[in-house]
Amino acid sequence: MGKTKWMATLGITTLLFGSLLTGCGGGEEAKQANGDSKQGEKVEVTLAGWGGNPSEQKLLQQTLDDFEKTHPNIKVKYEVIADQYMDVIKTRLAGGQGPDVFYLDAFEAPALIETGALEPLDKYVTDEFDIDDFEKPMLDAFKGKDGKIYGFPKDYSTLALFYNKKMFEEAGLEVPKTWDELREVAKKLTKGKDVYGFGVAPELARLYYIAESKGGKVVTDNKASFADPKVVGALQPIVDMHVKDKSAAQPNEVGATWGGEMFGQGKAAMVIEGNWAIPFLQDTFPDVEFGTAEIPMINGKKATMAYTVAYVMNKDSQKKEAAWKLISYLTGKEGMKTWTSKGYALPTRKSVAAELGFDKDPLRAPLVAGAPYATVWQNGTNLPIIVNNFNNQFISAFLGERPLADALKEAEKTANSEIENR
């Protein structure tokens, strides 16, 4: 009996491995079939991204339609990954089923570039593509350690101060120019628990530039260093506004999900948000009169955050030529102009920005003005771990449960031990 069982197991195992091997073989065949396209043959390129709002989707579709018109050999299959974008992309890349071209947030870029899953793009770039036209910080965000470019930024967003015009008028206040003024103004605008002067998102992605405003560094040599007294000192005012002044609150304390919503509902007189909040407020809360201004100066210096997303190419893509054509069109002058024409995000090409004139749009000018001095939201391969630990502990300080210095010290320790163990 024992023998038969053994035989059967062997048989099944062979079967199992056999099927695995055939699975791999399938990939090989596909490679040949999909190889470089011959004349007149249509190539289908998959493009994956997260969905935006309907008007944004329409714009992207229009850009893609234009591309297909000018490149009749290439068909673009656009896939929306609605939720947990990076998880899905990583899983699909690991399984060899990755899209040819996809969105990549600068924040996630260093770690993904390091794995070697992305195709370096330098060799495809032509003079015509005009690489010097890009805003340099945004382009640098997608450079690997080897100095190669792994993605071209499709657009970016910066942060600006959004203020409720009516509330400022009623209180007879001026829009704050410095962070100290902001704190004073916030106190005056606060009406108990109904209206807070300032809506804060207590997370590193939104506080990074403030944390570094006094010369401290959040990340040093790819390790957390935010327990630095300079960083603590820079962040302390935010905590004090919540704990001592009671003039600041995070959105969930008033039942909102994010700053824009909190601001629109009239529960915050000021929030610091990006350009995504402009169309949101105009659509969802048309009655709210708001203005934007550059973020108040900290320590006499201007500062803000910039968030950027690039199109990158999958290294395992079988249609690299076509994929590059798509990337170069989407991040080229023509494609980028169509894509950013409505102002949901700002163009990363200087020439397009000049052509569209967002620096003259009253609501968007402060956002555009921030680009040259903005800190790009990215720092090395370990930033995701660092952020996670920072956010986790910062919130307890923000809620007044313990001193900020202690919280950040513990978070730094945890983050660094996680990094060392990696």
Binding site: G2, N252, E253, T381, Q393, E418, R422
Partner: protein, 299 residues
């Protein structure tokens, strides 16, 4: 046995395995295979993206757990959750079942009403509860109306895990209630009659007849509860948008496994080691429970 193997027997076992093969194949491919692979991963440093690599690291992944503050927090949260939720939901299920079995009016109606939460998917339930837990939500309004303090259920690290506990007790107790209900209807009336003749009141009947008779069922309910609660994931995932926050208060072991497996690159092996450790913890908890209750007649 071996000497008596004849051609016929070979053929018979052969055809038996032939018929079994689809089931065996599925089992191997989807159940045994992944388990073996997970164990394999637990002993390796794995990089799945780009240049795939598996580096054998022995027990490194396991020793790392001991130095991981977040793993300790996750384990502590999970234990706290198990220790509170399992007894609460078991007792609540028993009480609900007993009241439904008492022969009250509208029993059927209440049975349906009580069972409803079980029919809804946990993701939907969590979203609904998040609305109710909202700072301006239903629960705070009710608390305010009766003069009790209100909480920032979602944002305050001290109450976030409790909020999930309350929700889960409410939604899983009915499921176990149904199991109890079936067992209750099995108790012979003669036992109650005898107890009555001895002068037992309602409470004594419940405590001395119902509860002991239900022991095997209770054992089953507790074990299923243990396994379910140790694996808490979706509720805390939705509550904290995958972060385990605020301040790690809703970080559970499975959520941590998810974070290491998918959020950070190159820690798949460590995630597998954590999963392996969790499986062992659940195994130990289950064995302990069985040892303590010593009732194994039901399974």
């Amino acid at each position: 046995m071996k000497q008596t193997l004849t051609k016929k027997m070979w053929r018979e076992t052969g055809s038996a395995y032939l018929f079994l093969s689809p089931a065996l194949f599925v089992l191997l491919l989807f159940i045994i295979g992944p388990i073996v692979f997970a164990v394999f991963l637990a002993f390796h440093k794995v990089q799945l993206l780009g240049a795939t690599s598996f580096e054998f690291v022995g027990f490194d992944n396991f020793t790392r757990i001991a130095n991981d503050t977040r793993a300790k927090i996750a384990l502590w949260n999970t234990l706290k959750y198990v220790v509170i939720v399992v007894p609460c939901q078991t007792i609540l299920a028993l009480v609900l079942a007993a009241t439904l079995n008492a022969g009250l009016k509208g029993e059927r109606f209440f049975r349906i009403v009580y069972f409803l939460p079980t029919l809804t998917s946990s993701a939907v339930l969590t979203l609904i509860f998040m609305w109710m837990y909202n700072q301006n939500g239903l629960i705070n309004h009710v608390l305010e109306a009766v003069g009790l303090p209100t909480y920032n259920w979602l944002g305050d690290p001290d109450v976030a895990l409790n909020a999930i506990m309350i929700m889960n007790i409410w939604s899983t107790a009915p499921y176990f209630m149904v199991i109890y209900l079936a067992a209750l209807q099995d108790i012979p009336d003669s036992l109650y009659e005898a107890a009555e003749l001895d002068g037992a009141n309602a409470w004594q009947k419940f405590w001395h007849v119902t509860v002991p008779y239900l022991r095997p069922v209770t054992s089953f309910v507790v074990i299923m509860g243990l396994i379910g609660t140790f694996q808490l994931f979706d509720q805390s995932y939705i509550f904290s948008a995958g972060s385990g926050g605020p301040n790690n208060s809703t970080l559970t072991v499975v959520l941590l496994i998810y974070q290491y497996a998918f959020k950070t690159l190159g820690t798949m092996g460590y995630a597998a080691a954590l999963a392996f450790a969790l499986a062992i913890i659940i195994l130990i908890a289950t064995l302990l429970q069985r040892k303590l209750s010593k009732e194994e007649s039901l399974y």
